[in-house]
Symmetry: C2
Subunit: 364 residues, 2 copies
C-alpha cells in the first residue's frame, strides 16, 4: 500500500487530567503502533508511515477526545490485527475507551463484509416490505425432541427466523449432530404444510475444526442460516466460517461487552465489516441497560451507506415482548428483525397462538 494512503481515524475518550492529556495522547499513538520509545527509532519509513499520529486532542464531556491516525498497512489488513491496532494494548488501560473508527474509502474492500445482507435475508425468507420476526429455541438442557417440537410450532406460526439459543452449543444434552438435523427437519415439514419459508439458524461454536464439522452437518441437512458469537469464536474464525458456510450469518453479542468499545462501533460497524449479515443486540428497556440512543446508533451503523458494503440486518432483542412490537417498529423501521424468545415461551400451552400474534403484529 502507498505510504501516502489515508489513515484509519480511531477516536478514543481518555479519562485523564487536562495537564497530561496531550502526553497521554502521544503515548497512546505509540502504544497502538510501534510500542517502543520513538526516539529509539532510526528508520525513516517507520517514523513516517508506521507510527500512529495524534490528529487531534480536545475536551469532550469531562474527558479528552483523541483522534489517532493509524496507518492502514499496520492492520494487515486482517481482522484480529485490525482489532490489535485499534484496541489491543490500550484495552488494558481502563482510562481509555474506543468510541468510533472512520475507515478511509476502499479500506473496507480488504474484508468480505456481509455476503447476503438485508436483501439476501429477505429473499431467503420471502419477507419483503416489512420487518422480520425471529425467535429462539430454549432452554439448553431440553431434549432434541422438545426443541424440534418448539421449532415446528414457531414455523407453523410463520416466524421468519428461528435461531438456537446462544447457550445451545454442542453439549451432551443436545449435540449439534443430533439437534440440527432434527430441528431443520421439523421446520422443513412445517414449511411444507404451510407453504412458508421459515429459516433455522443453529448456533455454531467451538474450535475451528469443530466449526468445519458443524458446517458439514449443516450443509447436509439444508440449514440456510447460522448463528455465531464472534467474540467467543474469535473474529478470524468467525470470518473463516462464513467463507466455509456461504449462508447468512447472524452475530450474537455474547462476550462482546468489553464495555470500553462503544457498542455501535463493535456490534454495528465492526461486526458488519467482519461479515455479519444480521447483528443481535440488547434492546433498550429489556434485561440490558443500553440506552435508546445507543440502540439506534447500533442500527444506524449496521445499515448506513458504506460504499459497496451490504447493510447488516439489526436484530434488537433481550427481554422483548409482543406488546412492544409497534413501538419497536416505529423506532427501527422495517429493515429490522424483531427477536422475541422467552417472551413467547412463557405462553406455555398457548405458544402457537402467541407466536401467531407476534407474526401478525409485525406484518400489520
Amino acid at each position: 500500500m502507498s505510504a501516502a494512503m489515508e489513515r484509519i481515524r480511531a477516536v478514543y475518550l481518555l479519562d485523564v487530567p487536562e495537564a497530561v492529556a496531550q502526553a497521554r495522547a502521544n503515548a497512546l499513538a505509540v502504544e497502538q503502533s510501534v510500542e517502543m520509545p520513538v526516539e529509539a527509532i532510526a528508520d525513516r519509513h517507520v517514523l513516517a508511515d508506521v507510527v500512529a499520529r495524534v490528529e487531534s486532542v480536545r475536551a469532550r464531556d469531562g474527558r479528552f477526545e483523541v483522534v489517532l491516525g493509524i496507518a492502514c498497512p499496520t492492520t494487515g489488513p486482517e481482522a484480529s490485527q485490525l482489532l490489535n491496532m485499534l484496541f489491543g494494548n490500550c484495552s488494558l488501560q481502563p482510562e481509555v475507551e474506543l468510541v468510533d473508527v472512520e475507515f478511509p474509502d476502499g479500506y473496507e474492500r480488504s474484508f468480505p463484509g456481509p455476503r447476503f445482507g438485508i436483501e439476501g435475508i429477505r429473499e431467503m425468507t420471502r419477507a419483503h416490505g416489512r420487518a422480520l420476526t425471529c425467535t429462539a429455541l430454549k432452554p439448553q438442557g431440553s431434549s432434541v425432541a422438545h426443541l424440534a417440537r418448539l421449532a415446528e410450532t414457531f414455523a407453523r406460526a410463520g416466524i421468519d427466523v428461528i435461531k438456537d439459543d446462544h447457550g445451545l452449543a454442542n453439549q451432551a444434552d443436545q449435540p449439534f449432530a443430533e439437534r440440527v438435523p432434527a430441528v431443520q427437519r421439523a421446520i422443513h415439514e412445517a414449511n411444507r404444510a404451510t407453504g412458508g419459508c421459515t429459516v433455522y439458524a443453529p448456533t455454531f461454536s467451538g474450535s475451528p475444526r469443530a466449526l468445519e464439522a458443524q458446517a458439514r452437518i449443516a450443509r447436509e441437512c439444508g440449514v440456510k442460516m447460522a448463528l455465531a458469537a464472534p467474540m467467543l469464536l474469535g473474529v478470524p474464525a468467525f470470518l473463516e466460517m462464513q467463507a466455509e458456510l456461504d449462508i447468512p450469518v447472524m452475530a450474537h453479542p455474547a462476550f462482546a461487552g468489553a464495555a470500553r468499545i462503544a457498542p455501535p462501533l463493535l456490534l454495528g460497524t465492526l461486526f458488519r465489516l467482519f461479515g455479519a449479515d444480521a447483528t443481535i443486540f440488547p434492546n433498550h428497556g429489556g434485561r440490558f441497560s443500553y440506552s435508546r440512543s445507543t440502540c439506534m446508533a447500533i442500527a444506524d451503523a449496521a445499515r448506513r451507506p458504506w460504499n459497496e458494503m451490504k447493510p447488516t440486518l439489526p436484530v434488537p432483542a433481550g427481554g422483548m415482548t409482543v406488546e412492544r412490537v409497534p413501538e419497536m417498529l416505529e423506532g427501527y423501521g422495517k429493515d429490522t428483525m424483531l427477536l422475541i424468545g422467552g417472551g413467547l415461551l412463557v405462553a406455555g400451552e398457548r405458544l402457537l397462538e402467541r407466536a401467531r400474534e407476534f407474526v401478525a403484529a409485525v406484518r400489520r
Copy 2:
C-alpha cells in the same frame, strides 16, 4: 456427566442497590444458563441440573458478591462455551463484574492446560534455578534484516527468550514467511557462536488457516516457542494452535482488557486452563495501571498448585527497565520471566551491552 456433579462456582460483583440484590442475583443465574423465564420450564432435568443456582449473596465493599453454581455440563466442556456460561450475556451488563471462578476437582482435565509449563520452558532454555529473561523485536515496519540483526544481538547477550512484538503480525513490511526463518537463523547462529540456547517466539496471528500455514513455516525452520494473543485469535483457535504446534506457547494480553473480568482470573487462571505455558501481563509501575497486588495475584493464579495442571510462567512486562530487575525478582521470585523490550532498545548503539546488563542482573 452425573447430575450430582459439583458445580463451577463463579463469583460476581454486582453494583446494584441492596433492595434488588437478591433479585438481580436470581436474574443473573437465569441469564447465565437457560436465559428464559424459569416458570416457563417444565422439564425437571433442566430445572434440577441445568439452571444455574444462586449459592450466596452478600455485601462486599459497597457492591454485592454473588456466587453462582454453574452446572459443568452446560459448558460443553469447551473453551468458548465455558466463557459463554461464565460471562457471555452478562458481559453486556455494565453493573456485573466476574471476579473469580472455582472449578470442581477434575473439571480441569477437560482441557489440556499448559503442555510444557515452567519446567518445560526452563529445559528448553537451560535456565535452571533462576528467573528467565525475555525481550521483544520491535518496531513493526522495520525490515526483516533489521529485526534479524536485533535478534542476533539479543541472543549474543544471552537473553533466554526473544519474542516478536505483538504488533508484528503478517504485514507487508515483515511477512511471517520471510521474517520468522530469517530471525530464527540469526538466533541459531548466535547460539552456535556462544553455546547458548536462546529461543525465538514469533507472533502467530490471523485466521485458523493462516495459523496452520504459520505452524508449517515455524516447524520447518525449527522455531521452539510461540507468542499469541488468545483474545484476538479467539480462545478455541488458541487451543487448536497449541495441539498443532506442540511447542510452548506464551499468551499475550492484547484485547483482553474486558476490564470486568478480574485480570488474575483471565490472564492467570483461565489462560492457564486454556494452555498458556507463559502469560505476559502489564507489571505495576509501568505504562499500565494494574496494582502490585493485582500483578501478584496474576502470578499466583499462574503458578499455584492445581492438581495435575502444570504451572504457567508469569511474564511481567510493559515499560520495565533493567534498573527494576532486583525489585521484580524480589516480588516475583525465580519462577518468573522478566520482559524488557523498549527499555533495552533505547540503548541504541549500546544495545548489546545493555542486553548483557539485563542478563547479568537477572542471573546475579
